[in-house]
Subunit: 302 residues, 4 copies
């Protein structure tokens, strides 16, 4: 009996709402924290049994990117998601998928709608993302136009069906906001990889909502030890590049020589990577500075 | 120098049009017919060199589903395709993909349009497919409404962009007919698997057009021996089930006993699988009958 | 509660012996026949519910190579297998694997041994396979030498370990007959593909033993409807090439014209593919003849 | 014409020796640094053309783990490698493989041998790895015994072949040191992933030799910009866990309060993660300390 059997029973078919009309729900799960341990022990042998308890072993595996034991658990979800979001989702290739077919059946009569305060501006600094919320007055207009357009789209679709157009052709102008549904089955390692990418601040808000729901409502209760290790060693970790490593070493050396504890912007610029020095704007330098501030190595300036 | 170097040079970046505004074009190719032979020889050893010329070896490999040597060639395409069609395309997981991003860039200002004589009715016998063409008069109306709707969709999109909505959000109601572009790179074995499924009569007409173009305009000239073997042993082959094999054996026995050469519908029904006998309608029996008629084992009735 | 829950409980951790010291055992299973149906219904929609019962739907999916619903079930095995056999097994890439590590632990002290009547000669007709059993007297000598060699191999390994050689290096001369163990997790579709290839008469006897055991002892009881469809439509099916299809059509035409029911070798040669006609030996012609004899279309000659 | 065409021509079929009788050689390559850029531009659109030159874009993609553009280049190698090493190699699933078949052909008559000064002791601190070299006098004996054993193994194999045993069975006791050969084809992203794991200090020396040779002799000259980015952002990067990030923040705070520039072991222990505090031995604490010493944040103690 898996240790998460009761949790799985409680979760199964429970719909966790996402967006205005989407959801994720657990259909089935194979394995628990213990399954990861079990698989690791066949690789790493009897020796590990003596020195490690399960939590320590799971954390060791996660920290050192020993990924195969995490492939030994499997999760199957049913998700309801706008096609626009699904277009990003499906790019993760290591999963099994059965999607609702609009060749066989009429398209689902639901589209993702946006409330007046839900519109976002283009990010200034980030070519791919969103920035501040849009003014609500403009938002109200956009939401009204969205509703009218989606109603027109559905009307067009239904008129085609009524005119005996084949479903596979009638669907061609459905808006990307149309909801679809799919069974999605994936091993735990690849699911965590999906979550790491899609819970990230650079991911689009809509898919982040799905990823966070899957992570926090389903993976965390089913695999508490794995989830804890994932958060500590992957999700909330920080990678330093070779340039950043060497910069920090120069910085600590400089501070030690000067007998000072905390670096200033001038210190940072003095030890920056030589290839950055001539650049007025340098995205990599900005990223590095942010990391050092986060680590407390540079004073946060006002 | 690969044997297809001149062909590859002639094909590269040549756009083969598909649908009203789509295309496929060869970006790059690794390998030729000879690469398949080369890889097979490392597996099957020196012995094969003596008994087989290249064509015979390639045909042997294809006939016996020795698929790995065909993975040793690789093709990279640039394709322009409606998102609706791309949704089916992307379900083939064993490929490398870089798609045009409507988060980074404005959506391509082109949608797939349907001419008045291009509308298809729902198939009567096939829940997923299309049947006869729709009456042109109705088609003319449908095409007009399609054009108006697509213009409205673009106007909505551009109004959102003008209102400073983030591109990743503005795109949410683009119609599935909107064109996208992608680099798509795949090994030859998996490409042939894609083509076998998507050139099939059950595939939707739009993706069949892409598949046929890729097969006939690009794969055939680059890999003439492989293509020939693929057509002979996969694309135009016919699979018989255990039930059909046994039925044919009973049928030939029956005819031999009766001293007759060609079977009638009554013969067919007399030797049908016992599990079909009680069914008034039986799709599997119909499929079997069609195969036997194709093989000339049953008389084609009027 | 899956319909195979009791069967799974009865099977779990039951060791099915294979070879002299190997085994396969079920560790876990996700899904049952019903899971395939469930996934298909999301794709093929409500309509299918009305016209098909589950068995019919599963058979339809298998017959028409609608493979994705079969990916919705997952099986995890623990296997004990000689490394030589494992080298073939691991070539199937779509699986999750955790193998016993001889870097972390001492190599398993067991090797596959061959009884005096277990030695096989090289096949005459088949460059890759085995033929008739070897004479038992020779076999007795071979088995004795095998035993002496394996004992020497173990002694060498243990002497290295005793001399403080690193395990990862000490193992370098272990014979391929050494047993290894692995957790092996795979979805049902890919498992059936593995079984189709490895239960085939062209597969090596050792891996066929494993494949048959997995198929008949584990898959069949857990997924009875899927297994039945797999046997009927894949394992015991027969594929005809374009050349063979056309040959049969010519043959039935010829017989009909002649008013005869059963073809002779002369008939076969008269309608053979034109490209075969000039060849004294032609493997493809031989393969075709065997198929036609099996179908009763040509008389079996003495 | 790819920018690396001349380099590819110079490298193709050049054998780079590895171990005593192994090699890696380039068979073919698709793409160059520019192919990565080309693929990225379709995703990231026109905008990127203006702000980034190619090197900057490649570095940005690598730094931010935008991996798909690196999948757009492909490399095909022919490698000769001991089966023991190949067993680890083949665990990387995202590659195309054609291996020399000892069912079709006689096994290659070459085994990996170890010189007297090439034997390694078991690592004390690392359950999976090697430690100091073994005494040469013992090494001389081990090498002599290795040679005798390998000769006996070959004699046994050849005696079986002479006795007409099928090749597929005769091979069963070949030592893992026996060389095999394979074509191995992989996209650049997955190759870099392979190299990151197999050039790592935790990988076994033998496969590290192969990985380093592939990286430095083949990938670096063919893809100089990608290689540089890979070294800077992946190979020589350093990942900090959540626990380590927070520890560093506490440490810099403590030093700032104390007006000191460099931390001592006592400082480190004072700010260590609370969950480590009660443990006498804690591998994670040791790993953290090593990282902080490398960054110059803790004084290196004698």
């Amino acid at each position: 009996m898996p240790t998460n059997a009761a949790t799985a029973d409680a979760l199964r078919w429970k719909k966790f709402p996402v967006l205005d009309d989407g959801f994720v729900t657990l259909v089935d799960v194979m394995g628990d924290d213990q399954s990861v341990v079990q698989a690791a022990r066949v690789s790493y042998g009897e020796g590990t049994r003596k020195v490690s308890d399960d939590r320590t072993l799971i954390r060791y595996l996660m920290r050192h990117r020993h990924t195969t034991p995490f492939e030994m658990a499997e999760i199957k979800l049913l998700v309801r998601v706008p096609m626009d979001c699904w277009r990003q989702w499906i790019r993760h290739r290591t999963a099994n998928v059965n999607e609702y077919s609009t060749r066989y059946s009429l398209a689902i009569d639901a589209t993702q709608t946006t409330p007046p305060d839900g519109w976002r501006t283009q990010a200034a600094s980030n070519r791919q993302g969103s920035g501040a919320p849009l003014d609500q007055e403009i938002g109200a207009r956009l939401s009204r136009e969205e509703g009218e357009f989606q109603a027109a789209a559905r009307k067009l679709y239904e008129a085609r069906i009524a005119a005996a157009v084949a479903r596979e052709q009638a669907r061609k102008d459905l808006p990307l906001s149309t909801y679809t549904e799919a069974y999605w089955k994936i091993d735990l390692h690849n699911l965590l990889h999906f979550l790491a990418l899609r819970m990230d601040a650079h991911a689009q808000q809509e898919i982040r909502d799905y990823a966070s729901t899957i992570g926090e409502k389903i993976v965390q209760p089913l695999f508490p030890l794995v989830w804890e290790a994932f958060v500590d060693y992957s999700l909330e970790g920080l990678c330093l590049t070779r340039l950043e490593r060497e910069l920090i070493a120069r910085l600590t050396q400089r501070l030690a020589s000067a007998g000072r504890a905390r670096a200033t912007e001038d210190d940072f610029l003095a030890v920056q990577d030589p290839t950055w020095a001539d650049l007025t704007r340098c995205r990599e330098r900005d990223e590095c500075r942010d990391k050092l501030i986060g680590l407390g190595l540079i004073e946060r300036t006002a």
